[in-house]
Amino acid sequence: MTHHTMPRLALALLGRFVPESDALAGDLIEEFQRGKSRIWLWLQVAAAIATSLLKRSRTIRPLRLVEVQPADALERSTRRYRDRSVNLGASPLPGVGGLGLVSLAMFVTCAAPHAWWLFLASALAGVSLGVVMIAMRPPSPGPPLTIRPEAAAR
C-alpha cells in the first residue's frame, strides 16, 4: 500500500553523492512504501552518503600535475588571455557566497541592530538555497579516473 510520498530531496542527494545508486534507491523506495518512517529513510540516505564519501576518500587517485592534456595545452597557449570571474565568496558554487551575508551582518550591526531577525532569515534562506542548488546540480559525467593497487601492481 502506498501511504507515503517519497522525499524527492533524499533521492536527489543519493543520486548526487552515491555513484551507481539505482538499486539502493529502489530498495529504499520499496521499504519506504511498505511503511518505514521518514527518519529511517533519511538515516539510510545519510549513512549511504557518508559511506560513499569515506570510500571515495580511500581511493588512490593519480597526481594531476597539469590542468590540461598536452594537446590542449598547446592549443590554449596560443589563445589570448581572457578575464575570468573570481568567486569572492570562496564558495564552490557561483552565487552562493559569504560576502553578501557579511555585508548584511555589518549593516544590521551598525544601522539597525533591532532588525536582527532580518539577518537570521537571510542566513537561513542562503543555507536553504545552497542545499537546493547542490541537490539540483547535474551529476558529473562519470567517476574520476582511479588506479587500484592491484591494477598498478600488474
Partner: protein, 110 residues
C-alpha cells in the same frame, strides 16, 4: 596470494545470500540478517560491502527488471561465487580454531 578471510559483516552478507538463493537482493539480504542474526543493517553499508566482495570476486551480481513499486528502479541480485564459498569456509575454520581451548568460552555442562 594470502588467503582472504571475511569480516563479520561480510560473512553475514555471504551467509544471507547463500540462505536466500536466487532471491538475494538488498532488502531481502538486510531482512535476513536482521531476523536471523538480530543485527540492524544500513542498506548503504551493505551495498558498500557487497561492492567490495564483488571487486574481490567473492560475489557476483546481476540487474533484474525495473518494477513500479521501486519507482522504476531495478533490483540487483547477488550470488556467492565458488571463491566466496571458500572464503566463508576459511573464515569459519579460523574462528572455530580461535574459539577452541579458550577456558573462558568453554560451556559449562549441567
Amino acid at each position: 596470494m594470502p588467503r582472504r578471510l571475511l569480516t563479520d559483516f561480510e560473512l553475514m552478507l555471504v551467509l544471507a545470500i547463500l540462505r536466500l538463493g536466487d532471491d538475494a537482493y538488498g532488502v531481502q539480504i538486510a531482512r535476513e540478517i536482521e531476523t536471523t542474526a538480530g543485527r540492524r543493517v544500513l542498506l548503504g553499508a551493505a551495498y558498500a560491502a557487497l561492492d567490495r566482495l564483488e571487486d574481490n570476486g567473492l560475489v557476483s551480481s546481476r540487474t533484474g527488471s525495473p518494477t513500479p513499486e521501486r519507482g522504476g528502479r531495478a533490483k540487483r541480485f547477488f550470488r556467492v561465487t565458488a571463491r566466496g564459498v571458500q572464503a566463508a569456509r576459511l573464515t569459519r575454520q579460523a574462528l572455530v580454531t580461535l574459539w577452541q581451548d579458550v577456558p573462558q568460552l568453554t560451556e559449562k555442562r549441567v
